[in-house]
């Protein structure tokens, strides 16, 4: 079979004897690759001395110029996820993932040329736009397939893939540092060569995921499983119906508020622990704190998504918002008590629920709107992530600067911020409590 024919067969049902447990590793291969996004910051500093190599020289890029690469990739990811859904449903997951592999791998290759010729616009176009397209397609597609294969364990299945997105940085960060050290020379910081190597690696990994993934037959069900009463199944809502339902907008707010509360902390974690414990926690230990939060972010995605299958999606988000608000309100006390351990445990639990909020979300969406038009509906809801990605850090940074300008000591500057974030989570609790099952045609049951 030619490549084109193999891809065209992507919409065909998997063979009868096909094990659905082959799908999560394929999805994980994709998400572990695109999760590299969260480790992109390891390239920031080396990219500011591409000309000077040992130190920044005249003509070298500024850190603010380099910072736009990540921001652009996040924006394009959100836009692709929001608008590519109908196309993904039409062409099938294998073709969508093949394109994701070309875009993400190609984005690295174009960026490598940008570093070699010292044209930052090629990094914006390469990693930012082309890579961002690959990120959007690679994020939504595997989740779309998994919720169809695991109607009995939607939370766990989607959580497995989304755990990969959290875990991708754990692999990419040390790998990028090792490759840059390997390729570094007297005339090169080693970034261009590292980009090329990682582009090839991720092209192969996402390509392998595309080759391995299969869709179930439309009427496929796990052996011995019958849908629980009231569950919306394959004949769920169309995208237009979903947009008219209040549940869509409540879900949008639930995701936005949960992400906004966590993402600001994640971005400021290193500075925050050093300022909370001056003289006791240095830069290296703070980097360890960030690493620990990444681990809890990843583990939380698996743990909470499995819990959501057990206690239900709405109850799980109630736990996130209630426990999260209580923890945000209590963590400043850990700082004032001088307990590093309590501070770390508090934030680790908060970040585990932040990750869990991402992981249980696809299952929440498919529980309410079914799987017929899952990709377009889920993709549009992911705009809440992009919005929170801007709002969360702005909120936490603005409040901190406001406190310091009023003469509050840096060690206590985050106290008000934590109380505000606790209020954000209380608002999320209210939105989640208002969500009711959707009847066919949208609206409340």
């Amino acid at each position: 079979m030619s490549n084109a024919a193999a891809l065209a067969a992507s919409t065909a049902a998997a063979p009868q004897a096909w094990s659905r447990w082959l799908v999560p590793p394929a999805a994980l291969a994709v998400h572990l690759s695109i999760g590299q996004l969260y480790a992109f910051s390891v390239f920031n500093e080396p990219l500011t001395r591409v000309i000077g190599v040992d130190a920044r020289a005249a003509g070298d890029w500024r850190l603010t110029d380099v910072g736009w690469i990540f921001s652009l990739a996040i924006v394009v990811l959100g836009l692709t996820a929001a608008f590519a859904g109908p196309w993904i449903e039409r062409v099938g997951p294998r073709r969508a993932l093949a394109l994701a592999a070309c875009c993400f791998g190609g984005g690295f290759a174009v960026s490598a040329v940008g570093v070699l010729t010292h044209q930052i616009v090629l990094l914006y176009a390469g990693y930012g736009v082309l890579g961002g397209l690959g990120l959007g397609l690679g994020y939504v597609t595997p989740v779309t397939v998994l919720v169809k294969w695991f109607p009995d364990r939607r939370g766990l299945a989607a959580g497995l893939a989304i755990m990969g997105f959290g875990g991708g940085a754990l692999i990419a960060a040390p790998l990028s540092v090792s490759l840059m050290q390997l390729f570094r020379s007297a005339t090169s910081v080693g970034v261009a060569e590292t980009f090329l190597a990682m582009g090839c690696l991720y092209f192969a990994a996402i390509g392998a995921g595309a080759a391995a993934i299969r869709l179930p037959a439309p009427d496929w069900r796990p052996e011995g499983w019958t849908p629980p009463p009231g569950r919306v199944e394959a004949n769920g809502a169309a995208p237009g119906e979903a947009l008219r339902a209040p549940q869509f907008w409540l879900l949008w707010l639930v995701l936005c508020l949960n992400v906004a509360a966590g993402i600001g902390v994640l971005g400021q974690a290193s500075v925050m622990i050093q300022e909370a414990f001056p003289g006791r926690v240095g830069a290296e230990a703070a980097a360890g704190f960030v690493g620990l939060l990444s681990l809890f972010n990843m583990a939380g995605r698996l743990f909470w998504s499995a819990v959501s299958d057990w206690i239900g999606r709405r109850a799980t988000y109630c736990v996130f918002f209630a426990a999260g608000a209580a923890l945000y309100a209590c963590v400043p006390f850990a700082g004032s008590l001088g307990s590093v351990a309590l501070f770390v445990v508090g934030y680790a639990l908060i970040i585990s629920m932040f990750g869990g909020g991402f992981a249980a979300f696809p299952a929440y969406v498919s529980d309410l709107f079914g799987t017929r038009a899952f990709a377009p509906i889920y993709g549009r809801l992911l705009t809440a992530w992009s919005t929170a990605g801007v709002l969360g850090p702005v909120l936490i940074n603005y409040l901190r600067e406001h406190q310091i300008a009023r003469g509050v000591a840096p060690a206590e500057a985050y106290t008000l911020t934590m109380y505000v974030l606790a209020c954000v989570l209380v608002a999320g609790f209210a939105c989640n409590a208002l969500i009711r099952p959707v009847r066919s045609g949208g609206g409340k049951r």
């Binding site: 094990s19 754990l170 960060a173 926690v281 230990a285 690493g291 681990l295 351990a341």
Partner: protein
């Protein structure tokens, strides 16, 4: 369970879990600096 224990399924899981375990180990080593 029978379908979960197929060699092909186990090999697929091992392929994706090994790099993840390596990344988690490297991160944990760095995190230990917080408590030592």
């Amino acid at each position: 369970m029978k379908r979960l224990m197929q060699p092909r399924v186990i090999a697929s899981w091992a392929t994706v879990c090994l790099p993840l375990a390596w990344g988690a180990y490297a991160t944990l080593q760095r995190a230990l600096a917080l408590f030592t």
